[in-house]
Structures are given as C-alpha cells and as structure tokens.
C-alpha cells in the first residue's frame, strides 16, 4: 500500500514538473491516435451510410464481416500490418515500419470496424423520413446524407469517442509496428507496459492518470452535447 501511494505521489510530481520524456510520450500518443481517428472517421461514416441506405448485393455479408472484425485482437492487426510493412512484405519499399505512420495505419485498421458498426447502428436507428424529406426539399444526395448524419449526430459522436478510446489505449499493435522508440513511437500504453515491466510504477501511474482524465473529459463533453440525457417528450 505504501509503495502504491509513494508511486502515485511521484506520478503527480512528474506530471506537475513538466517532465520532457513523460510529455513526449503523451504527445506521441495523441498525435498518432488523433491522426488515425481523423483518417478513419470519414471513411467509416461513408461506409456506414452505404450499409444503411444503399441496396447492393453482398450488403448483409459486409455487415456481418464488419461486426466480426470488431472482435479481432489488436495484436492480430499489429501482426498483419507488420507483415505488410516489413522489408520483405508487399509494402516494405515504403519504409514505414517502426514509424508513427505504421502506428497510424494499425490504429486506423483497428478502429474502422468498431466505428462502422456503431455508426451503422446509429444510422439504422434514425428515421428514413429524414433522408426523403431532405431530398424532396431539393437537397442533393451529398447534402441529404449530411442532413441525415446531423440528425443522428450524438450516436455518431459516441461511435467516434468509443473508437478513439479503443486506439488510444491499445498496446499490442502500437508495440509491434511502432517499436516503442522514445520520442518517436513510444505512446502511453507502450510506455506503461515498458515501465511496469521494469518495476517503475510512477511514470505508468502518471500516464494512467492522463488517460483517465482524458476519458473523463471526453465523456463529460459527450454528455454535455447530448443534453440532459432524458428521452425527448
């Protein structure tokens, strides 16, 4: 118990002191995951919209595939990206392995199925009349799609937050394709795993506090955007 309270005290001191290593790890984490979510979100929203509103052969199979891919472990995604980007892999010539872009590719692949599935569910729970009303009032298909998405924006926002939560906290994929290189590819989860394995708990706890605080802020933000959380009367 004493050890835990001492490590927590040191963690708070580390955070307050502006420790360069600690803040570089936090910077890498948010920089990589924010870029990954920025790339994945538009792709996922278009995919989810197509699944919800377009009729094409194989749509049902695709929905099942997306739902299945949600359950793929991060290390499996990491392994796949590693094999693709390794020197002998099909994308080896790009020299992306052990760079932030390799981590971004891994995180995009990791969050896409979750994002598509949750956005699809949000769009499915919407109202077909929104799409028809937008079109009949003269919106083109692109604007009508944006209108429909705006109508279910809280569900879509929740999908983005859940997907971001998954990638900011994943360790397996980032460790495999990033290599955990300090100042370059060491992010919060890989740093926590490394420091804990060395028996250095203070930095791990400090980084854990940052993650928790961020998760809390995101959920407060979502809650504020959604209003009181009551059903509409």
């Amino acid at each position: 118990m004493n050890e835990l309270s001492e490590a927590s005290h040191q963690a708070l001191q580390l955070l307050a002191s502006g420790d360069a290593v600690l803040w570089s790890i936090i910077g890498v984490s948010f920089s990589v995951s924010l870029r990954a979510i920025a790339i994945a979100t538009p792709l996922a929203l278009l995919g989810a919209f197509a699944l919800a509103y377009l009729r094409f052969p194989g749509r049902r199979v695709l929905v099942t595939a997306v739902n299945t891919l949600m359950a793929v472990p991060a290390v499996v995604v990491g392994l796949t990206v590693y094999l693709l980007l390794s020197r002998s892999g099909p994308l080896g010539a790009l020299h992306l392995l052990f760079t932030q872009w390799a981590m971004i590719i891994g995180q995009v692949l990791l969050c896409l199925p979750l994002l598509i599935a949750m956005a699809h569910a949000a769009l499915q729970s919407g109202d077909q009349r929104a799409w028809e009303t937008a079109l009949t009032l003269g919106a083109n298909r692109w604007r009508a799609m944006r209108t429909v998405m705006y109508e279910v924006r809280f569900g879509l926002l929740a999908a983005v937050i859940a997907a971001f939560g998954r990638i900011i906290a994943e360790v397996g994929c980032s460790m495999m394709v990033g290599g955990n290189i300090l100042y370059h590819t060491r992010n919060i989860p890989t740093a926590i795993a490394l420091e804990t394995s060395k028996g250095e708990f203070a930095q791990g706890i400090a980084l854990g506090i940052v993650l928790l605080a961020f998760a809390l802020a995101l959920n407060f933000g979502l809650g504020y955007a959604q209003g009181s959380g009551e059903v509409s009367r």
Partner: protein, 243 residues
C-alpha cells in the same frame, strides 16, 4: 394560353415498380395537368405511397416513360428531374432537429438563397400559415396538426409544381383539418398541382378535380389516352383540357 402552360405537368406511361421480386405497382397511364387536384384513393397497401414517392423522385420505377413539361425521359432521369420540383409530404411529417424557422429555411438553403432573402420569405410564409407565434419553437415539440402546417409551409415556400400529400389529414382534429384544407386551396391558387392519397376520401372530394382509384397496384378505370396525349378525366368522366 401559352404553349408552356398548355402542356400537362406530367404524364407517365407503362409505370412498373417491384419490391422484393414482387410487382407492387403497374400503372398503364396517368396524366397530371397544371394546377389540377387529384384524389388518389385506395386501401392500405394498394400502392398509393409508392406511386407518390415515384412521382416525387424518391423511388425509381423499374419501367416507365415519363414526360415532364414536354420532355420524355426514362425513370432514373425523371426521378432526378422531379426531386425538389415535386414535394412529397409524409402522413406524419418529419421535422428536422431545430426550430420551425430552421425547418422552413431548409429548402431555401438548398437553393442557395442568402440569409436576408430567406428571412423575408419565411416571414411572409409564416404569416400565411398563421404560424408566426411558433417561429422559434423546436419543431419536434409541435402538435401533429402544427407539424403538418409547418411541413406545408416548408413546401409552399419552394413553389413546387406538384405537391404529393400522403394521408396528411389522417390524424388531425377538425380545426387542423380545416386549416390544412384552406392552405391547400391557396397552394392550388398559387399554381401548384396537388395529389392527395387517402383511404378516407369523403372530406377531400370537394377539393379535387379528378378521382383515381388504386387497387392491387393498378389504377381502376384509369383515364384513357386520346391519341398520343394523356388527357385527365374529371370525376364526371368529361375530358378536361390541361390547365
């Protein structure tokens, strides 16, 4: 009468629509004149809503030849042509998340009207619909009758050539129904053609020039084409010149 106004607004020949491998609509021919009001009656499931959505361009017919303002076109092109020109109103209107004013402004925004112009047009329309007191109210909090009047106002502000009304007075009280009928009569005076779909047609008979009946996806006693032109019939069976 100019050449333009003499043309029927829309004629359709050989219209077919299938859903899930089953043909749900098979309309030989149908003509709608400018400013005409048509009562489309039929039981639930007879294909009224499907026909209205095809005429609005929201659904694309599997087959059919559409002549819109004198130009003949296939179903997909016709759907694109009709969207925005022909406005469809649901039985229970959809209100976008926003105020009454924002809902009415939606179609104007799609047409690129600037906000000052929008405000002027919206103010005039709200006065017409006696909805001025609701302008800043969240549209979803209105009663069914008020929502339907907002939906009609949202449509009228776009000056549609054809208004397709799907059982819009079904859930209204007598006062809301009377107000809605008055608004529709105004819309006709402003030059819009109107098609009412309903299974309770008695209250609407007086508002309409022509009555069509759909049964099992087919028009019963559909108007017969005279030569190449489809001339709508009045209820008494006398052919009418398109207005």
């Amino acid at each position: 009468m100019s050449q333009d106004t003499a043309q029927p607004l829309l004629t359709v020949r050989g219209l077919e629509f299938a859903f899930g491998g089953r043909r749900v609509l098979d309309v030989g021919q149908l003509g709608i004149a400018r400013g005409e009001a048509i009562l489309l009656v039929g039981d639930n499931g007879s294909g009224k809503t499907t026909l209205l959505k095809i005429l609005a361009g929201l659904l694309v017919a599997a087959r059919g030849e559409f002549t819109c303002l004198g130009s003949t076109m296939p179903p997909r092109t016709a759907a694109r042509f009709c969207r925005g020109r022909h406005v469809y109103l649901h039985q229970s209107p959809y209100m976008f998340d926003g105020t009454v004013e924002e809902n009415i402004a939606y179609g104007l925004k799609q047409r690129g009207r600037d906000s000052a112009q929008q405000r002027i047009e919206i103010r005039d329309m709200l006065a017409w619909a006696e909805l001025g007191h609701l302008v800043h109210r969240p549209a979803r909090q209105l009663s069914t009758g008020e929502k339907q009047r907002v939906a009609l106002t949202r449509a009228r502000i776009l000056a549609p050539s054809l208004l397709l009304l799907d059982e819009i007075t079904a859930n209204m009280d007598a006062d809301s129904r009377r107000r809605t009928h008055t608004m529709i009569a105004d819309l006709r005076r402003a030059g819009s053609s109107v098609v009412f779909a309903t299974h309770d047609h008695a209250p609407l008979e007086a508002l309409c020039d022509q009555r069509l009946e759909l049964a099992g996806g087919q028009l019963v006693d559909a108007p017969v084409a005279a030569g190449a032109d489809v001339i709508p019939l009045r209820r008494d069976g006398v052919t009418t010149e398109p207005r």
